[in-house]
């Protein structure tokens, strides 16, 4: 099986307090999973470790079958990983919406013309074309989230880490997001407290507990299970 993320026996502490031990997680190619758990249990911390923003204390981490030992190893992986921060303000590098959305593409050397087209397309897709010329910091919370998301989506990363993507989004936008994420054929890890949303997007839900990660829901296997019993008409 080809895997995007492969974590074994990961333990993490912050300020000397152990958050969790023995976390083991495999995310295969194009698989979408969610991680849930109470406030402060270490979900954001886990995403930071996967994105190479925080050192690994114990355990091993492989991304696309490459062992990641130090933060240096992540350098070559940067363009493959997209990360939506829990607080969008932290994510912005350029002050104007379209410039910020285009940032990673331009930084990786894509031509201005192509970037312009792609930016317009992604803004259209998210229904925020009217914000293109605005200053990012003058937007509402939900609008900021969408702009930050556009900046992640435009890179077409092979692995997407989304920390609370629905925070501040209205009902219609949430459904739009379900649709957009559903169309993406990449590995996605979502951290969210929003159960209805993640159930519409992901195949597996893991829960962080002090003793590791437990799979609390596996929609994929249920799905297969249905089919083993024949061709009864059913909906998913």
């Amino acid at each position: 099986m080809s895997c995007s993320v492969n974590i074994k026996n990961l333990s993490t502490s912050r300020d000397g307090v152990r958050l969790y031990e023995n976390v083991t997680l495999d995310v295969s190619h194009k698989e979408k999973i969610a991680i849930i758990g109470p406030n402060g249990c270490g979900k954001t911390t886990l995403l930071e470790i996967i994105a190479g923003l925080r050192n690994l204390e114990e355990g091993t981490l492989e991304l696309f079958h490459q062992p990641m030992h130090s933060l240096e190893d992540f350098k070559n992986m940067r363009h493959l990983i997209g990360y939506l921060f829990q607080d969008s303000d932290n994510q912005f590098l350029a002050p104007v919406v379209e410039d910020d959305v285009a940032f990673s593409l331009l930084a990786s050397g894509v031509s201005k013309e192509e970037t312009k087209l792609k930016t317009a397309m992604i803004l259209q897709d998210l229904g925020i074309s009217h914000l293109a010329k605005k200053i990012v910091y003058h937007l509402s919370g939900g609008e900021k989230k969408l702009v930050a998301l556009a900046g992640v989506l435009i890179m077409e990363p092979k692995l997407m880490l989304l920390d609370e993507p629905t925070n501040g989004l209205d009902q219609a936008m949430q459904l739009r997001l379900v649709d957009i994420l559903g169309r993406i054929d990449k590995s996605i890890i979502i951290v969210s407290h929003h159960k209805e949303f993640i159930e519409l997007v992901v195949e597996k839900i893991y829960e962080i507990t002090p003793t590791g990660l437990s799979c609390s829901l596996n929609l994929k296997d249920e799905h297969n299970h249905h089919h083993e019993h024949g061709d009864h008409p059913h909906t998913h």
Partner: protein, 225 residues
């Protein structure tokens, strides 16, 4: 809501360039000439609806200038005192009016449009961002105190609260800078903040103001002082 839409638009680029030239020339001239009032009059007319608040700000800024001018009066150098006073007020009024309705970001964007070195503009962008976020933190804290019924008094609780607030501001600023570093790593920042914008949208006001300002700086007639 876009506040800039309801006011006469002067492009940030124009504002930055004209503010630089006007203040340099006015500061370095031996005399002040009457035509130097022209751009002030034009700007004043453009911002006629906001004149009151602009002059209020000018008044407070003048407390500083008053100290300098007073020190010269002390030495009985009346002419110099007047020159310093007028000069500073010309420049301040010009800058206040031309940057009216523009925030730290539009100035940073203007620097980018002028093709100043990437390092310089990036530093400006991130400084603007930090200032904005700290300002917001400050407002948030003030509102919290207000909502929670805090009355500033000269007692220990007030001092403690204020000291705690300053501490929190420091921690938040530090945290923000760490996040900025993370974002730079993740998004492949390599020293440049890019822009897709190719053209600059100058209006008729930009041309008019630029013309008047340049004229006022070269037309050396009618020395005021």
């Amino acid at each position: 809501m876009d506040k800039t839409q309801t006011q006469p638009r002067i492009a940030p680029t124009t504002a930055l360039l004209l503010a630089l030239s006007y203040s340099t020339v006015v500061a370095l001239q031996e005399h002040l000439y009457a035509p130097m009032l022209l751009p002030l009059l034009l700007l004043g007319w453009l911002h006629r609806a906001l004149l009151w608040s602009i002059f209020k700000r000018l008044f407070w800024l003048n407390t500083l200038i008053a100290i300098v001018a007073a020190s010269m009066l002390w030495q009985e150098n009346y002419e110099l005192a007047l020159l310093v006073f007028l000069r500073s007020n010309f420049i301040l009024l010009f800058v206040l009016m031309i940057f009216q309705g523009k925030d730290e970001f539009s100035i940073a964007i203007a620097m980018q449009r002028l093709h100043l070195p990437h390092k310089l503009t990036s530093i400006f962008f991130f400084t603007a961002k930090s200032i904005f976020l700290i300002k917001r933190e400050f407002t948030l804290f003030k509102n919290t105190l207000h909502v929670r019924g805090f009355m500033p008094k000269t007692n220990l609780l007030t001092y403690k609260t204020m000291a705690g607030f300053v501490g929190i501001l420091f921690i938040k600023a530090l945290e923000r800078s760490l996040w900025l570093q993370k974002a730079m790593h993740l998004r492949g920042f390599c020293g440049e903040v890019y822009t897709l914008e190719a053209h600059q949208d100058f209006s008729v006001y930009d041309t008019l103001l630029a013309f008047i300002t340049i004229l006022s700086l070269v037309w050396r007639q009618g020395a005021l002082i």
